[in-house]
Symmetry: C2
Subunit: 329 residues, 2 copies
DNA sequence: CGTTTTCAGGAAAACGTTTTCCAAAAATTC
DNA sequence: GAATTTTTGGAAAACGTTTTCCTGAAAACG
């Protein structure tokens, strides 16, 4: 392996000079810089990031933590979009992403997680969908050993930022459009998780709308499960005008139930996943750009790593109506 | 940061002794081992994998290379399954997975890729869906700088293994079952990519079956694209008895076309993705376990890294019939 | 022209491990 | 009980960088 040492010898300069060229230090003359670059080229030298990390104590390694409980279904395209967004941005910024899946994160020993991240010299964490109120995550974030960005969860402090869309507003807006258009008054609202951050936020939005328009809303919790939503629809849809779900996956469950029951009710979703297009119906929903959310999370993490303080970032959302043809063409 | 040095001091032994305990060397007495372990515990010492990698010249880092051209559609769940399978197995074996996306891998400078992997001290590559016949991959694999496992592509040598199902057999089997059951004679076969390895293999299978049963097959290339398959179906399905596609995504395209044309033709797919269940029809297909394939690829890579020689691994497949309800319940 | 300031570049310690080699102690042999 | 072998554990070099500190030369100053 050709090292900085070989380059130095070839260029007739000191090791430290080569390092300075590599890291774009200012105090190297153009002439010397050129000599070094020629030597690098000739020898095909590639800097060793391991050695660099050891010496500088900066690894630039981030972990993307995904809770596989939540994304258990293989049709769920959201985690993949997080991964793509995060990895591409990380590459752009010269950082490394280690993707990590945690099943049953609540149960898992946080100490074990911390040891793992520490042994891997990971400097920053992007945590998806787990709020600081989960005891485990709280301990992890509070260990003070890492900078963190929480996606879809609150909890800002000096070392922690939070990033998400305005869930309350988005739910309010999409539901309003949907309700007015479909002229519905009695609504079945299938919420997400009890005590889940985004779920509660979306619930606020729907309540706000109900107050404003004087709607009757009947609320049940679907745990973001397609099957659960299907059951709830079976049970409660009959005497309602319409169904609003806190996720597209649940909306699909609801639609399937409606087909099975052979009744028609308009359905409104949330997330804007393209799987929706395959369910064959058209539907109002909120589109989130998960890939940019993850990319922004990486950028934010890099900001935190430069010593900046944590903050809350609100990402934009979009109201869309998914159609059969959107996906295909 | 607490280092091996601190542990040594605390335990009253030499640094090298601590290292030996850490790495389970045999020539350490039970007594000394215990002393060291106590010190490790007391100090909360976590070994630094960066330093270890530098010193031992073994990083245990693998790259999972995904061609995003091929998996451009966000509904495509296959890459995610590769990622999950690979990461979990890697963790089990104490290796690290760096996921990398390459778009337009053909065009991309291989030298740049090599530099990247080299600077990251990556020891092994898992390359999905790109055969050694792609010039770029050939150069990469032949650089001799990495051990590689090719998923769904041929090319075994001392440093390279290949892993895939028996595509010819699988296509033959599923098509036979499908054809006999649906009593079809004139078939539209929508193949994958021209010169693509798996595509050619599957084509062999269908040809074999056609010979055996005396079927008439009309072959077109769909490039694994849903839209393309839809167009081809529009164009050619009318005077055929049935449609067999080299992938489920194309099968979905074909089904959509049939709906649009308002005619019925049985459709046969390949891959067994669960998205199929959302298209709302039932269909014969071949189920591949992409997650285990990736896991096996990681295992194989670790074998290669231990100095074993490359080989070809055939993974099992399964014939299934996807139904609407399979997904839901 | 002597003095001070700025600048380029070198020497060497440091990062936290692994690993080789060696010495002392213990165990075994005759 | 001496000679040999085996076992245990230590000293120190090495891995490839970064970074601090320092020196000598050039530039700027009065």
């Amino acid at each position: 392996m050709v090292s900085i040492r070989d380059v130095a010898k070839r260029a007739g300069v000191a090791i430290s000079t080569v390092s300075k060229v590599l890291n774009h230090y200012p105090n190297v003359s153009a002439e010397t810089r050129e000599k070094v670059n020629v030597a690098i080229e000739e020898l095909g030298f590639v800097p060793n990031s391991i050695a660099s990390a050891l010496s500088s104590k900066k690894t630039g390694r981030l972990a993307l933590v995904l809770d596989m409980d939540k994304h258990a279904q293989s049709v769920d395209e959201i985690p993949m979009q997080y991964i793509v967004g995060a990895i591409n941005k990380a590459k752009e910024l010269g950082l490394d992403i280690i993707t990590v899946f945690f099943t049953m994160i609540q149960e898992m020993s946080v100490d074990e997680m911390i040891r793992y991240f520490q042994s891997q010299s990971i400097e920053g964490l992007i945590i998806c969908g787990l709020s600081k109120h989960d005891k485990a995550i709280y301990k992890l974030v509070k260990s003070g050993k890492f900078k963190s960005v929480l996606i879809d969860a609150p909890g800002v402090d000096a070392n922690t930022s939070s990033i998400h869309i305005d869930n309350t507003k988005a739910q309010y807006e999409v539901a309003k459009k949907f309700v007015l258009e479909s002229e519905s008054r009695k609504i079945l609202y299938i919420a997400g998780k009890k005590n889940g951050y985004v779920s509660e936020e979306r619930l606020k939005g729907i309540r706000q709308l109900a107050d404003e328009l004087g709607l009757t809303i009947f609320i049940r919790t679907g745990n973001f499960s397609e099957l659960e939503a299907r059951k709830l629809t079976m049970q409660y849809a009959k005497n309602k005008d319409a169904i609003i779900c806190a996720s597209d996956l649940m909306a699909i469950g609801a639609m399937k139930a409606l087909i099975d029951m052979d009744i028609y009710r308009p359905v409104c979703g949330f997330d804007g996943v393209s799987l929706m297009g395959y369910a064959g119906k058209q539907m109002h929903t909120v589109k989130q750009d998960f890939s940019s959310i993850a990319a922004s999370a990486v950028e934010e993490l890099s900001r935190l790593m430069e010593g900046e303080s944590g903050r809350e970032i609100i990402m934009p959302h979009e109201l869309i109506r998914i159609k059969y043809l959107d996906v295909i063409s």
